[in-house]
Amino acid sequence: MATRAVAEAAEEPRPRELTREEGQRLFDQRARRFLGMSGKEFIRRYDAGELDPDEDNVLRVALLLPFGR
């Protein structure tokens, strides 16, 4: 019984905190995938008010800004 419990626990996914660099890479990948621009360009244009925050692809990248900054 104990062995099974340990095995089941080992299968449970564990969340992972990304380093700042890993987070910026993830953010950059999402910006490129959804908007065809780098993460840095997204931040510059978003902060300048050039991107529509109501557009779904902008939104799904903007919500990831804590990874990118």
Partner: protein, 167 residues
């Protein structure tokens, strides 16, 4: 969920969401570096495919983004949510349902987009928990549970959500 340190509060929050998601997927949640400011979490690959109780080609896909912040309250820390984006896609990737709350956009209150109606419409909702979305998928959208105790896991998390929400 109150904790003695900021780190403990963040860990408890992220662990709880990961546990709820483990009812439908083994995918790992990534969360942003703890800076003391707003944080976010999401899946490594944006969206994950959910096993179907019917045919494999009917597998829906789920995207999750959640923004949160650790806030000090008296002598303890708790997590305050700042925005969410829960999206369910058809097997081919087309959007089916999306629950949003993102106060930075024009429509600031929690709402639902239903692609089959008119995706541009913002259908008002109360604040929706991720656990409620997962329960809906498991009970009404033929998503196959990944663990036998999913009902209890989600019930416990939903109860905690109701207890800790401030609005």
């Amino acid at each position: 969920l109150a904790a003695r340190t900021r780190h403990a509060a963040v860990s408890a929050f992220v662990d709880a969401l990961q546990q709820a998601l483990s009812c439908v997927t083994p995918s790992v949640l990534y969360h942003s570096y703890e800076t003391g400011a707003r944080q976010a979490l999401t899946f490594a690959d944006d969206r994950v495919r959910l096993a179907s109780t019917r045919r494999p080609r009917e597998a829906l896909q789920l995207s999750v983004i959640h923004q949160y912040e650790a806030v000090r309250q008296d002598r303890t820390w708790r997590i305050s949510s700042r925005a969410y984006y829960y999206r369910v896609d058809d097997p081919d990737g087309g959007e089916r349902l999306s629950w949003h709350w993102h106060p930075a956009a024009t429509f600031k209150r929690p709402h639902l987009h239903v692609a089959a109606l008119d995706r541009r419409r913002h259908l008002p909702t109360g604040r929706v928990s991720l656990e409620a979305v997962l329960r809906l998928l498991l009970t009404e959208f033929n998503v196959r549970p990944r663990r036998p105790d999913w009902d209890g896991v989600l019930a416990a998390r939903e109860e905690a959500f109701e207890r800790s929400r401030t609005w």
